[in-house]
């Protein structure tokens, strides 16, 4: 019998040969360690608190309090018309703050539109963080200054960016981890899938933090996925999935830190699902009463991330009344400053519209810039007045 045959004519008679089994199959990765634990990890109320650095716990607390106040202030500014829109992270501060604090200086944050707090907790000026939402420009900061990518509005599109950046850093031999944030709704987008797959294939030092806050605008998680948990998606990419109580700041921090450790060690990406809740409406423009009950919100309010941590730290004597008051005062100071600065009119130059489209302005844009300049001059000549 011929050795290699593709034509069926040669097959009769081949039956005498016993066909061999296929090349031995084995899973490319052991799936067991990739699967998330059956329930979200909690640290508060466990021995993990005693083992934790009290300094870290107090920092988390301080930032949570400041973060809550920041959310309240930004919401208030929106009501006063100072912001075009504000997607609050009230109730999700533990995730936002833990994400910021776990980052080392050289690491990168990839926030979504809801994650201005994480950027602020990383050290970004809140006014700069809010530029997009105030509407004076798209991004209010130089991403390289604090290594914070621009807030991403198209859902999940920032995830491949994080993977690419982490991959590039690794290729360059730099010790950099990228932390990419996304919502439960965002996990349904193709970009989520493609990003996680690239990350796992490339073993890129990237950590994906999904804030499962129960809703994508009005759509509850049950209409978003039938998965056991979002963390279970990890196994399909060959990376570990971790499930954590997103309102337990120490737990989120710990799980993130473990994922960072893996990333730094060259062990590749991790997917973390933080189970939390969006206490406010989607944005100020949304009416959450149309799609969810006040009762559900109350249940989650009772599991408030600040109260959880404050209670724990107070009980353990790590935090006292002075500490609580000081944190509140620091938050008030931040809020007052933010209010004042946001109440000042931003200085705008319409000619900026043409400045950064390309490195070198095209002749077409030069013409258009001239046109606008002439219009503005004419309007100014006519005295105060809008360009109609």
């Amino acid at each position: 019998m011929k050795k290699s045959s593709t034509s069926v004519q040669e097959l009769p008679g081949a039956a005498a040969d016993r066909p061999v089994p296929p090349p031995a199959w084995q899973p490319r990765t052991d799936p067991a360690p990739l699967l998330p634990d059956p329930a979200p990890y909690r640290a508060l109320g466990t021995d993990a608190v005693a083992a934790a650095d009290p300094g870290l716990l107090l920092r988390l607390y301080g930032e949570l309090v400041r973060g809550r106040r920041y959310n309240a202030q930004a919401t208030a500014l929106t009501k006063q018309g100072r912001l075009a829109v504000y997607p609050s992270s009230t109730g999700q501060e533990a995730c936002e703050v833990a994400a910021a604090l776990v980052l080392r200086e050289q690491d990168w944050l990839f926030p979504s539109y809801r994650d201005t707090l994480a950027a602020v907790a990383r050290g970004l000026d809140p006014v700069q963080a809010l530029t997009l939402l105030r509407g004076d420009w798209h991004t209010g900061y130089d991403p390289y200054e604090h290594r914070i990518a621009p807030l991403s509005t198209p859902l999940a599109t920032q995830l491949p960016h994080a993977v690419g950046l982490a991959h590039a850093a690794r290729l360059k031999g730099d010790d950099v981890v990228a932390l990419a944030m996304v919502g439960d709704g965002g996990t349904s987008e193709g970009d989520f899938h493609e990003a996680l797959n690239f990350a796992a294939v490339w073993q890129a030092p990237v950590v994906f933090l999904v804030q499962n806050n129960g809703f994508a605008i009005s759509v509850p998680l049950a209409k978003q996925t039938a998965a056991p948990s979002l963390a279970h998606k990890a196994v399909g990419y060959g990376m570990p999935g971790r499930l954590v109580d997103g309102n337990d700041a120490l737990a989120v921090y710990t799980v993130l830190r473990d994922a960072f450790t893996r990333a730094v060690r060259g062990e590749g990406p991790t997917l973390i699902e933080a189970v939390t809740y969006r206490i406010e409406a989607h944005t100020n423009a949304d009416d959450a009463t149309r799609y969810r009950s006040g009762g559900e919100v109350e249940t989650w309010r009772a599991h408030d991330p600040i109260r959880l941590l404050e209670h724990e730290l107070t009980e353990r004597g790590i935090l006292d009344e002075d500490g609580v008051r000081e944190a509140a005062e620091a938050a008030e100071t931040m809020a007052a400053r933010l209010r004042d600065r946001m109440n000042a009119e931003p200085v705008l130059d319409p000619m900026d519209l043409f400045t950064h489209v390309y490195a070198d302005q095209t002749s077409q844009l030069r013409e258009q810039a001239e046109q606008l300049r002439a219009e503005l001059a004419a309007a100014a000549g006519e005295g105060p007045g809008e360009v109609r």
Binding site: T153, S188, S218, P346, L353, Q364
Partner: protein, 334 residues
């Protein structure tokens, strides 16, 4: 003759009513998209549909635009008439491959055996203070894709009529809803809507002799206002509302320009590579010897859509339209 109660309605209400009436008349009409169910859509265009027709007829999908349009293709293959809502213009981009490679091509691919009567509703354009990605004018992409109809209403009447026509069409229709006209009002009776006109007919919104303003969607009110203002300068402008970019009503447009001898195309989309080039070129091809001046274009600048606080500088306004009219080489005439 019975009198019908006619009261002011918004374009949003007329669109909602068109969906409702289409669903009531034809059980194969299904609405799907992000937040279209319980919430009624972020612009409330699908308000009440899930309550009236059930979740299976008006479905909150998972958050994935390619998935929404891709599953709509499958539903249409099985005889349904899906009406897809894209939440904002820029959030339709993830569905482009499905749109270009399947929705636009399936009828042709199968020699007519497998038409896809899908309506893709896309709220588009700016002027509502939206942040990045919420104000794109993406009609150029759709126009450049054979197999799609591209339709956009500028009035409350047309919002109803064109959406009904789109849903009734056996071809896929990209139905562009000018966001900033959602709350524009007109006397309109939901119980006695104007007869549904076929897709593909432009309409002269204002008669005039001096020059033709060719426009559509969000720029129609600007052009009408400009035409009023132009009277002071002695110009009597005609205003054509295209309503349908594909198919394009060459006859109505060319008739007008041949009469007036001058034309300005006005739209909010960026100028370079935008719809205005096509329109100006085909008008010129058809009316060259009637033209006293080149067809001019007033469009958004060739830039990414600006942030809310700067958008008014980008949007073509009355002054820019009048400036263009002034550049139509009137000297030549005198």
């Amino acid at each position: 003759m019975t009198t019908v109660a006619v009261k002011p309605a918004t374009m949003a209400q007329a669109l909602q009513r068109a969906l409702r009436d289409a669903m009531a008349e034809d059980p194969s009409v299904h609405v799907l998209g992000e937040d279209v169910g319980t919430l009624g859509g972020v612009f409330r265009i699908t308000d009440g549909l899930a309550a009236e027709f059930g979740d299976d007829r008006c479905t909150d999908t998972p958050l994935a635009e390619a998935g929404i349009l891709g599953t709509a293709v499958g539903m249409a293959m099985y005889g349904l008439r899906p009406v897809v809502e894209m939440q904002f213009d820029a959030f339709a981009y993830p569905s482009f491959e499905q749109l270009i490679s399947h929705v636009a091509k399936m009828r042709n691919r199968t020699r007519g055996a497998m038409p896809l009567p899908i309506t893709v509703r896309v709220p588009y354009g700016g002027g509502i203070g939206g942040v990045e990605h919420h104000s794109d004018s993406s009609e150029a992409y759709y126009m450049a894709t054979p197999g799609l109809h591209v339709v956009t209403p500028a009035t409350v009447d047309d919002a109803y009529g064109l959406l009904r026509a789109a849903i009734a069409s056996d071809d896929p229709v990209v139905f562009l809803e000018p966001k900033r006209l959602y709350w524009s009002k007109a006397s309109w009776s939901p119980d006695d809507p104007a007869p549904v006109e076929p897709i593909g007919r432009a309409v002269v919104r204002r008669r005039g002799n001096s020059a033709t303003l060719i426009t559509y969607g969000p720029s129609l009110p600007v052009c009408l206002e400009a035409a009023e203002a132009a009277r002071a300068e002695g110009w009597d402008l005609e205003v054509v509302d295209l309503r349908s970019l594909v198919p394009f009503d060459d006859a109505t447009v060319a008739d007008s320009v041949r009469r007036t001898g001058r034309a300005v195309v006005v739209h909010e989309s960026t100028g370079f590579g935008g719809p205005g080039g096509e329109i100006a070129a085909r008008v010129t091809e058809r009316c060259f010897h009637h033209l006293e001046a080149p067809v001019l274009r007033v469009a958004g600048f060739d830039i990414p859509y600006p942030p809310p606080m700067l958008e008014r500088h980008h949007l073509p306004g009355v002054d820019r339209v009048l400036d263009a009219v002034a550049r139509l080489q009137w000297e030549a005439e005198s």
